[in-house]
């Protein structure tokens, strides 16, 4: 166990060093949500009736953007492992006595760290634009985001190691994330959806995440949708990481 911790730390440092040398990617990941925030959010005022404050519109939109960022900025993490795989790095590491899961955990920790920083920055921009969020709300929201981030990253690494090809991976990830995003109520409230679309949205865990995130932002921390989301994502994350761990163990012999 101590070996796993030490090896994970070493490989986390490696991944982090790479990211610090390529900060432009971190900024790009932040670019889309901030852009939406600055250019799209003000338009939402017109959809709510009766007219509400800027703060209310932001309280509805920003948590959604946070979930969108959790989905998009982490979904393509898998590409990091493709490069390592094709360059022979995974093979080289497999011959060392390094813990088989240290590479995975090191990368996930790095991705989570970056995502949390990006999220904090997003919330900061939102707050500066007039959004209000309670402190317990932020705490629980971070917890939920960590779960979602872990789910998406581990799934991304698992699929990347399974497919082993960058082009196919790109197509696969886009095909999976786009419907999830559209059916999550991030861009427009799902109350506008009818029939089949509504049902599909209810099956989308990210729609529940958006709900929970919005509830948390508005300060209602005892709402049932919150613990429901935690349970859903805890289970999904457990499945995803278990599957990815299995794929990693197999890949590293």
């Amino acid at each position: 166990m101590r070996k796993l911790v030490r090896d994970t730390r070493l490989l986390f440092q490696r991944s982090l060093m790479y990211t610090l040398r390529n900060l432009v990617w971190v900024l790009l990941g932040l670019f889309q949500p901030v852009l939406y925030l600055l250019l799209f959010a003000p338009l939402l005022n017109g959809l709510h009736a009766p007219a509400v404050t800027q703060s209310d519109a932001l309280e509805s939109f920003v948590p959604g953007l946070l979930v969108m960022m959790a989905l998009f900025s982490t979904a393509f993490a898998g590409f990091n492992i493709i490069e390592d795989l094709q360059g022979g790095v995974v093979e080289r590491l497999s011959v060392t006595p390094v813990s088989r899961l240290a590479l995975l955990f090191g990368m996930i920790l790095r991705d989570l760290l970056i995502f949390l920083i990006q999220g904090a920055l997003l919330l900061l921009v939102g707050t500066l634009m007039g959004m209000y969020i309670s402190l317990p709300g932020i705490f629980l929201l971070s917890g939920l985001m960590i779960l979602i981030g872990t789910l998406v990253t581990s799934f991304s690494y698992g699929i990347a190691l399974y497919l082993k090809d960058g082009t196919i991976l790109s197509i696969a990830l886009t095909t999976i994330t786009q419907p999830l995003l559209l059916l999550s109520g991030v861009l427009l409230p799902l109350t506008l959806a009818h029939g089949t679309l509504r049902t599909l949205a209810l099956l989308n865990p990210f729609a529940h995440a958006v709900d929970a995130a919005r509830t948390l932002t508005s300060g209602q921390i005892s709402d049932p949708s919150i613990w429901q989301s935690f349970v859903i994502f805890a289970l999904l994350t457990l499945c995803s990481t278990t599957w990815t761990m299995h794929i990693f163990r197999r890949a590293m012999a």
């Binding site: 090896d7 070493l10 490696r14 060093m17 790479y18 040398r21 390529n22 360059g87 022979g88 790095v89 995974v90 093979e91 080289r92 590491l93 497999s94 011959v95 060392t96 006595p97 390094v98 012999a253």
Partner: protein
Amino acid sequence: MQEQIIETQQLQKTFKVRNRRGQVQYLEAVNDISLHVEAGEIFGFLGPNGAGKSTTLRMLTTLLPPTGGQARIAGYDLLREPDRVREHIGYVSQAGGVDKHATGRENLLLQAQLYGMSYREALKRTNEVLSLLEMEKIADLFARMYSGGQRRRLDLGLGIVHRPLLLFLDEPTTGLDPQSRSQLWEEVRRLRALGTTIFLTTHYLEEADFLADRLAIIDGGRIVAEGTPDGLKQQISGDIITVNLNISAGDFQRAQEVLHGLAFVRALHLVQRPEMSQGDEKQLHIHVDHGEKRLPAVLRLLDQADLGVLTIGVVHPTLDDVFLRQIGRSLREASPLC
């Protein structure tokens, strides 16, 4: 008796693949690989591309589980204690596996620490390796900026940073220019001098001939010959003493009679050398067991018989001849890229 650092018994690898129609097929990559390597020697694994060299190597380095057979590496059972095996071996793959986004020094530091060294120990060892491989000047450049030869040296560094007992090299000089190749050969010899056992695969004859103390030839997934380079070559055809005489055909008759009586002469052939344009220059090929040893006797006899020897030389068989004899085709034919 010297300690055997690698000992395998009937190692076998069969791959299960699906063909185009979705049916499962069994592809036998290697079979009945039984070999042994003594501590401190350079062992060569020679064969054409697709012979099964890399598959065997990947099994020995714990990357690929064998489907049959057993092996003991560095004193540990390959199947039951792969982790212990990993602690004592180094591996330099064809791809190398260098982290291109980090510097050479950072690559070595991480590798050393992954083998359990503390940061301080790793720093010290990294400097040692950089000095050994003459990489101090480029140590702090990003690895993606290295030339092919420099990258190969870093690959080697990553393989030896933890002072392994046994180092596996997979086609170490493929793609290198002649100068880098010689440099790498020197590094390998230096490593052996320091006590490291080296197992290398190659499809280059000269490499196997120059480096290996002992070698095994693999083709079609099986070992077809094993021994020292000289031993293998001797088994095949022995040497040829070539004599150029500037005399008429009649004297060749005399030469043949004189030499035929010698016990060590296996055959005599008269060969017309196409490049020679002056006069009657034909070349006599005397097939013997050991060229240099028999040369003085041959020269003396020809002299006593008053035959004018213009030039005399010895031609040694090559590993290609060994290959040709064992497999029925030349290694050069089998690997057009040689």
